[in-house]
């Protein structure tokens, strides 16, 4: 007889094994997106917690797109917080000019933050170049490319994870691929 407890243990084990298979990739995706290893760890941990809380009873084969959807939500939340913080800092540092002209926040937006040197995991030249090229891509293109090309999600699964249409996924993936080819001309075949 299959008891509830046995079923729970089996589900937990499957869930644990699933998280073990995706955690490294998720960490790298979050790190590429944020540029900070500590922030990436927090995002991945939040995504794991979210998956276990909400979808622990789902079949394992359905977990991957759900996990990446949560991860993408956490990355977007992180970006929103950063944008808010930057804007706050920007307006805080504003000094009215002599003519009282208004500032354009987009033109004055600070450049992307540099890497946290202690958190850099990059080992070889190819990865350094790839990392730099990926970070130049807009967030949506970058994550769409990683989900499709690296994690191997289908167009439909990627659309579900990124909360966009399949057409958008195809367009974003194509643009990312094109940009990366140009950027990595010297490093890749």
């Amino acid at each position: 007889m299959y008891t509830m407890n046995e079923r729970f243990l089996e589900t937990s084990q499957a869930l644990g094994e699933f998280l073990e298979t995706v955690e490294r990739r998720a960490l790298l995706m979050a790190r590429v997106a944020t540029g900070f290893q500590d922030e990436a760890f927090d995002i991945v941990q939040d995504a794991m917690l979210g998956l276990v809380k909400k979808y622990r009873n789902k079949p394992v084969e359905e977990l991957k797109p759900l996990f990446y959807r949560i991860l993408q939500n956490r990355i977007r939340d992180w970006y929103r917080r950063q944008t808010f913080r930057r804007r706050w800092q920007f307006y805080g540092s504003l000094e009215p000019d002599d003519e009282g002209a208004s500032f354009d926040p987009i033109n004055n937006h600070p450049a992307p933050e540099s890497y946290d040197p202690a958190g850099i995991l990059l080992r070889d030249e190819a990865m350094i170049a790839l990392d730099a090229a990926l970070r130049k891509l807009p967030l949506r293109q970058q994550q769409t490319f990683l989900l499709r090309a690296w994690e191997g999600l289908s167009v439909a699964e990627t659309a579900m994870a990124m909360k966009c249409s399949e057409g958008t996924v195809k367009a974003q993936y194509f643009r990312a691929l094109h940009t990366l080819r140009v950027e990595l001309e010297d490093h890749c075949p």
Partner: protein, 119 residues
């Protein structure tokens, strides 16, 4: 000469390999933090499950306690006249003697009293 789709596939493959190598070469402290994060998530899941078991159990216990508490109150409540009459009517209708027996009860009483006088 390789065709365009082949070159594209080769390019994607090389990117995938570079990323896989980076994921495989995570240092011990990063792996340890990931394991901790995973364990924490799994523990939260187990606690959530326990809550699902505990809350209904508490509900059952509270209901039983409430019934036990209120039972004596209903038990000691005095019966009203209406309730007594209703109980008597129900007994008359439901027993096996039939309505004629109750209609003739006065006759049986008279018979038993007057019969004794006649003797």
């Amino acid at each position: 000469m390789t065709s365009h789709p082949d070159r594209e596939q080769e390019f994607i493959e090389s990117i995938r390999k570079t990323l896989d190598d980076a994921a495989e070469s995570l240092d011990a402290s990063a792996l340890s933090r990931l394991t901790q994060a995973r364990n924490k998530a799994m523990e939260t899941g187990a606690r959530k499950r326990l809550q699902w078991i505990i809350w209904p159990a508490w509900g059952v216990i509270a209901s039983v306690a409430l019934i036990l508490l209120l039972f004596p109150v209903f038990e000691n409540k005095p019966q009203s006249i209406k309730e007594v009459a209703l109980t008597a009517d129900t007994e008359i209708i439901s027993d096996s003697l039939g309505l004629d027996f109750y209609r003739d009860l006065y006759f049986y009483y008279w018979l038993s009293v007057d019969g004794r006088h006649a003797e």
